[in-house]
Amino acid sequence: MSKEKFDYFIKGEKEKYEVVIGLEVHAQVLSKSKLFSGSSTKFGADPNNQVSLIDSAFPGMLPVINEECIKQAVRTGLGLNAKINNYSVFDRKNYFYADLPQGYQISQYKNPIVGEGKVLLDMPYGSKEIGIERLHLEQDAGKSIHDMDPSNTYVDLNRSGIALMEIVSKPDLRSPDEVNAYIKKLRSIMRYLGTCDGNMQEGSLRADVNVSVRKEGDKNFGTRCEIKNVNSIKFMQMAIEYEAARQVELIENGKKIDQETRLFDTKKNETRSMRSKEDAHDYRYFPDPDLLPLKLEQKLIDDLKKSLPELPDKKKERFVKEYGLNAYEANVLVSEKEISDYYEEVAKLSDKKLAATWMMGDLFAMLNDRGLDISKSPISAKHFAELVQAIKSGEISGRIAKEVFEIMVESGDNPKKIIESKGMKQQSDPKELEKMINEILSKNKDKVDQYKAGKEKLFGFFVGQVMKLSGGKANPQLTNEILKKLLKG
């Protein structure tokens, strides 16, 4: 595979600019109950139905840490090749807002549970390492609903207190494509680990995007702006493009970029100032006196490490080595754990390479058309493997296989049954084929003469006739061979 060169720069009137991006991803921890209370975290409940006295900050209520959330954060840290801190502290981040009943969010400030790590991206121009600055645990706030009533805002506290992991990257990203790859990789790792479902529609994964620009070759970073709470990759990419262009324009016009927090307006496709640095909140962080510092025993970390599943990077390596896939195929097939599981089941029972080709072709296209996850595939891995084997053994041709595939999707039957009941088996008996071909040649003497006179294009015509007569079942390779032999004679 030829390697492309990285080429994402913003061209101003005068100079070429590099875009520098850092992400603060908020990933909802997959857990039954909230970070500091026993309330359920299930999505889609009626408003204010999953709210305990703790979540709604009644007098005298105290937070108690949910151990599962701690383990999930440690697992995620390990998945990001990061340092797990044996000592971390929960702090109060104080601010006043209608959907924050306590008047403070419990978060981690100076001592996060996870320190520096890294994530590997596969870009067309090679692999790229993105540094992770830290991962910390914090509570989500409630949700203010502004559009239910013309004069009132409603508050739903179901989300209040749900555990979030804030994963802060280093400013290592340089393009919307890298952001896309980074988010997908993070999502993939967390889904492999079972620590976050990565469902962006339900808000399980959102990000604050820090963007700055600098002249190509500059060593120093420019002034950055933070775009708050963007909840889809597409919007992140659009926001970055808009914001980078805006900053370049300011610079080229000799203006200063103000460090500020901005909002991305998805309707107008633009970022807007939300608050300047001067108006920034003073969060008055201090250690939450209701919670003791979190001390993790090394044994717990070691045990969690031992129980980690094989992660996408390792699996990709193995797929290349074990199944003879190329890097691109391996990358696609490990992107989701469910896909890799499906592939491995198919590969166990059939040709590994052919299985990959058919999965990435027809199977993915079908799932995509129907908007299905592979876990909901109408074709089981076992049946799919049988289909691949039928192709590999020459029992059916690729063209017939496509028909069988369609019938499998509709009926859910196994391919053997379909091939037999519909008589779709490939004609691979040389004697039978020769008989058929002779019949065709004798019926088309004029065309045979023309062919022999040099009109070799007619070869395709004869193949077509064989396919027609055999109802598409003639083995194409054998047909070619026999046709050539008989036409020579």
Binding site: F58, P59, G60, G103, D282, R284, F286, D290, L292
Partner: protein, 485 residues
Amino acid sequence: MADITNQSLNEIIENVKTKKVSSTDLTKAYIKNIESAKKLNAFVSTTFDQALDKAKQFDSKPNFDQLLPGIPLAVKDLFCTENTKTTAGSNILNNFIPSYESTVTKNLWDNGSFLLGKLNCDEFAMGSSNETSHYGNVINPVGDQLVPGGSSGGSSSALAADLTPATIGTDTGGSIRQPASFTGTVGLKPTYGLCSRWGIVAFASSLDQAGPMTKTIKDCAIMLESMSGFDEKDSTSINKKKEQYSKNLKDNIKGLKIGIPKEYRVDNMPKEVDELWEKGKKILKDLGAQLIDISLPHTKYALPTYYIVAPAEASSNLARYDGVRYGYRSKQGKDLIEMYEKTRSEGFGDEVKRRILIGTYVLSSGYYDAYYLKAQKVRQLIKKDFDDSFKKIDAILTPSTPSSAFKIGEKTNDPVSMYLNDIFTVPVNLAGIPALSLPAGVDNQGHPLGLQLIGKALDEQKILNIGYAFEKNCGFKNEIKKWWS
């Protein structure tokens, strides 16, 4: 039978157990006392009907094996009580009825007692005289012009006036020990984490600790045993086996080493307080204890440290009172922000506002390092002073307060002189260790004075034992004339 309500809790329990008095009659006796003591303003609310029902239930099916069989108890209005209004002495909670019971009060009820009423206190436990309560100041039964101390002033007043056989308070900087000292009663601030904070309206989370207020040391041991214990709902709760403080109470203190810290001899301390301290030393020495001079060099920084740490935590703890989900909500205000502002302006009193402002200030960016962070470091040094001392000694003896009860209104316009009242009690909260205030004598006006016994963490039994021996040999008797009835 003589008036049962002037007996100790232990004596009352014996009388109930031996069926000399029924729980119902006992409860009625206290109700009568409470009704004739309205002048003291010790109660924010009463639960007489409910208490009489519980008493009847007990009498019909008594269980005498419990620690507090059929005993009616009034508690500080900082403890959330299920279906009973809980105000924390504040207007902002003037209509708040919890749907839950604090762990400490639940422990008391599980041991056979029941609620008689809720006792007045300084607003959110911020005060040393019970004058910051939205529900009016409380009067000390010792004298009609005197404050009962604070913040557990309703508790000390009710106890000293025989309106409850024993009670509980909370102590963030002295709020149990100082009122106990002002009323000639016993008050214990346990080790931080010994009693659960769950369901107690929070003031300063790293300092708040509930504890017993009683007439005698034995009573104190019974109450502590009843109310303490590990609670998984409080992350700072200590997970240890429950102690039998009352059963293990001993009055032999021979050979124990008692530290006398030179830093507790402060300027302008009344002569009587000094004399009382000397008297205390002599009693302990005569009982066979050994007195050892010690130094707690960072003591002088304790008060400023406390008045940074406590308001900082309070400013954050009190952010939840916004008039939305519970409590008082202002009817003024055009929009949400104005509703918040008016609610908090009208809902909180001056002292609470003062501490919210101090706390917000010391946590603000640019000031955090100079105030809050430094205070935390000093707090460690104060704790270390105690840790170092307790390597050589068993307990420390100091005065509880620098003076006896002061007059109502005397210090209300001078917050700093009010804060100075906590000078001997505050270091203990910062260090998280237990301390007992025990009545030891009176000043020349006949007003009670207390001495403080400080122990190392979880050494409640030892300081109770010393207090027990002291009590037997001190000869103090709290003579309060019932001028209010």
